[in-house]
Amino acid sequence: MAIVLIDGQEIEIGDDERLNGIQVAARAGVEVPHYCWHPGLSVVASCRMCLVETGKRDADSGEISMLPKLVPGCQTPARDGTVFVTDSEKVRQARAMVEEDLLIRHPVDCPICDKAGECHLQDYHFEHGRPERRADIKPFHSRRRELGETVTLFVDRCVMCTRCVRFTREVSGDAELMVVHRGAHEEIDVFPGFPLENKLSGNVVDLCPVGALGDLDFLYSQRVWFMKQHASVCAGCSTGCSIQVEENQDRIHRLKPRENPHVNQWWMCDEGRYGWKYVHDNARCLAPQQKTEGAWQPLDWSDAPAVLHAALSGENCSPENSPPKNSNPKKRRLAAVLSPFLTVEEAYLLATYIRQYDENAVLALGRIPQAGADESFPNGFTIRAEKCPNRRGVEMLLSALTGDVLSWESFLEQAAETPFDAVWITGGYPPVNGNDGAGEDVASEEEKSLATELPAGLASSTLIVQDLFDSALWRQADIQLPSAAFVERSGSFVNAGNRLQSFEWAIRPPAGVMTEGQLYWRLLDRDGLYNARRVLEDVAREHIAFAAASGEIPATGRDLLLNQLV
């Protein structure tokens, strides 16, 4: 164990921890302002905002000797006996000078700058800068040029921290960004004909400490202080990046990655980042309906329990009385297809509900959308070919409940052999013409055919379809239940690495939609509002595979294989 002194405060750090001055200071609750340093990138120590005083405390005498020079905190390792002083007059002067330097050629066009409100230059200048300007004032100058399809550069706002350049070299690996010219004429640019186009491009905007890099998707859509941030999990692929959903009045404006050392470090891919548009798509299914004598009738959510009871058991019950439980006198053969877009909790509730009617009801895993192959980047970040967030979670639940995992394809074969009386199919898939954020059509042949043709074997069953968008299945259903998008629901996903991450809803679903969790909760006659936390506790208690999911789930999720012999 090592002891480091921060402004007189003793901080303990582990022997194998390699921390720099900025990081140990943060442990002591002291912020050392910094631009160029980022925990996910190499150290260049060039912005000099993090200058501190350093020295050494002699182990025996306790005497402290300080270096006469300032040092960059980002480049100075903390060892046993290291002393950092971050609040001296000398340090304050240095910060003020760096801030003054950075504003000399800066346009300070905050009113039209997307970063205003979350800009390090603003915040640091407010805290560490000088109240008055001493440099010559030059006319407002704010050039802009596009770096690619996703990112635009406001050239004169750049503080030359080179984070974006290092990101494209060290993390995404395509090295599109570079510094051109020299000295005060330096600018960030791309080589002509080689725009910034990699599948992680949006991250450079998050990395940029100022408003130099703008996200073309988000640009001018919202002042940041009007948005609320919600921790969530991306549903774009089975990596399951930890994200932050930023919304105002139930409209999403952007998604950003949320730091998670076990999953996505600090990054997310463009597919996930820009792939949320379908949430606000006008084509979404919004009205529950049932087919009576071949004609569509609106279905009131309050009638849903009775209607669904009738559909599953073949017995009518009056809407006034709540349907009797576990009554399936006709011994109807039932099945439920649990989509890999359902949360663990929702899948568990639906399975429980169906099995109230038929304890041998067939439970199958929904279709797994695939696109291409897994794609890994130099620092290990991986975009998975499996374009759904919770295959592992549903699979684990299915094995726990049925001892097996029945795939969508096998399920269809079974249905073709011996048709089911009633089938409940859950969806939640983004629209089939969904694109990957870069405008590419990624719909597979299967997806396209599902949009137009009903799989054989389902035609004779009573079909309950719960989905986001119109499809052949949806049109052939007997009962249509609009589903909620991932940002509207609460629960947990288990990613490809068996990490379970829980999240709460970020926005309310559009009018007409009842979230899956709430519907199942009501069908099961539980009290009050759907509570994902309580459901997960039940799952963890009942199924050993989920044992690790009991108790509070950390913001970075929990490894379900923890303490398990596998």
Binding site: V44, R105, A135, D136, M160, G183
Partner: protein, 456 residues
């Protein structure tokens, strides 16, 4: 030993340069060239030769004056290799041309020193990083290297010994910062010459992430002369260590002084370390141009700062200029400014150079150099304010590795002329500002910038 009449000092480093075809192997060998190399390779173990150089207290001639043998011992022991040697021939410090003379006129002296240095440091590959703007040096070095390969002095088994060495001549990227040793390494590797943060120092992790020694051309020439003449000869020249400063390794050996500016006979002169600026101007340079009076002099390239006319008794050794508030000896390139020179113009020109050459990584250097230039632009346009002088001094005091605010020494070099010029010639600056801006010199509000001064 003191030479009474300096100009009678027998040149050693420059001994060969006026001979016809001095740059050829034939002429060099006729003068006894490569004899020391053969002798050392034949019967001096590398450790012994390294210790010899260490014992000579030879200090690097590239600017910082770091003890050469000591630098060599920083290489990790028993490293599996390869170890690289970079000969710094990027000579871009204004006023400096001693490396150029050596490379153009006597490349074999440099190469012999380089081969000996590589032998001492176990380097099997050496790069000569040559300033792009030296075409003749390029030509002569390349033909000298070709001659050496043909004669068996380079390649596998140098002169029949176990030691093998390849030398590659690399033309630089035409920027001052390429001369900073880690900027040089980055540039050599094919990247922008952005100096690296240290540690690790090049001796531990340099070119291609391997241990690397960077030495100046003149340092290599001195190595060759020490091999020829021995340590005692070398230590008989120059200034011994200051007995009151236990950390002073002294300033031994001959030095090439570049004398330019307002002198009668500008040129590259050789004398022992420790002659005074006025000795250099008068004994070698024939006095100030046209019999005028000197107003100031740069002691060792413009990044070292300024000496006033009263300070010309400054000794040109590694501790001399520091005693007068200058940064150091630098490259020992003396530039004389006579009484007609405006120090405002001098400083403006200096600032222009550093704003142009700052690599732009570090905020204080990038912005400080360009800000000071813009202020001087404005002062010279008749819109100066007295306040600007304090601001300039503040910038000067803030930028550099000395206060700890930058990655490399370029910023110190940019700061020193500002600090020296304003502190030593403040009256002249104030007079200039008052005269050219009689109505506004007391203004304190931020002024409007002039049209952006283009430095491309």
């Amino acid at each position: 030993m003191r030479w009474n009449l300096l100009s009678e000092f027998e040149p050693i480093l420059l001994a060969n340069i006026h001979r016809e075809h001095s740059h050829t192997l034939r002429v060099y060998e006729e003068q006894g060239g490569y004899r020391s190399l053969k002798r050392v390779l034949a019967d001096q173990p590398r450790e012994a030769f390294r210790d010899l150089i260490k014992g000579s207290a030879l200090r690097g001639r590239g600017g910082a004056g770091f003890p050469c043998g000591l630098k060599w011992t920083f290489l990790p022991e028993n490293h599996p290799g390869p170890v690289y040697f970079c000969l710094n021939a990027d000579e871009s410090e204004p006023g400096t041309f001693n490396n150029r003379i050596l490379m153009e006129e006597d490349p074999h002296q440099v190469l012999e020193g380089l081969i000996l240095s590589c032998y001492a440091t176990k380097a099997a590959t050496a790069y000569i990083y040559l300033r792009y703007e030296y075409p003749l040096a390029y030509k002569h070095l390349q033909s000298a290297i070709d001659e050496l390969y043909a004669a068996g002095y380079l390649g596998d088994g140098v002169c029949g010994s176990e030691f093998s060495l390849n030398i590659y001549l690399h033309r630089g990227a035409a920027a001052y910062i390429c001369g900073e040793e880690t900027g040089l390494i980055e540039s050599l590797e094919g990247r922008r010459a952005w100096p690296r943060i240290k540690p690790p120092f090049p001796a531990v992790e340099g070119a291609f992430r391997k241990p690397t020694v960077v030495n100046n051309v003149e340092t290599a020439a001195c190595v060759k002369q020490i091999a020829d003449r021995g340590v005692d000869w070398f230590r008989s020249l120059g200034t011994p260590p200051d007995p009151n400063n236990p950390r002073d390794p002294g300033s031994f050996g001959p030095k090439l002084y570049c004398l330019s500016g307002h002198v009668e006979k500008p040129g590259c002169y050789e004398a022992p370390l420790g002659i005074t600026v006025s000795e250099l101007i008068n004994d070698f340079g024939g006095g100030v141009w046209k019999g005028r009076k000197a107003k100031a002099a740069v002691p060792g390239g413009i990044s070292m700062g300024l000496l006033t006319a009263d300070e010309l008794d400054c000794k040109l050794d590694f501790s001399g200029p520091g005693k007068y508030g200058c940064l150091g000896l630098g490259t020992a390139a003396v530039v004389v400014l006579d009484e007609t020179v405006s120090i405002v113009d001098f400083l403006h020109n200096t600032c222009r150079f550093f704003a142009h050459e700052s690599c732009g990584q570090c905020t204080p250097c990038r912005e400080g150099t360009s800000w000071s230039l813009k202020m001087l632009d404005r002062i010279r346009a008749g819109q100066g304010r007295l306040l600007d002088l304090d601001l300039l001094l503040e910038i000067g005091d803030f930028i550099g590795i000395m206060p700890g605010t930058t990655i490399c020494g370029l910023a110190d070099g940019a700061a020193w002329p500002i600090k020296n010029a304003i502190r030593k010639f403040r009256d002249e600056f104030e007079e200039y500002i008052k005269r050219t801006n009689p109505t506004g010199y007391m203004e304190t509000s931020p002024p409007l910038a002039l049209e952006l001064h283009s430095i491309h």
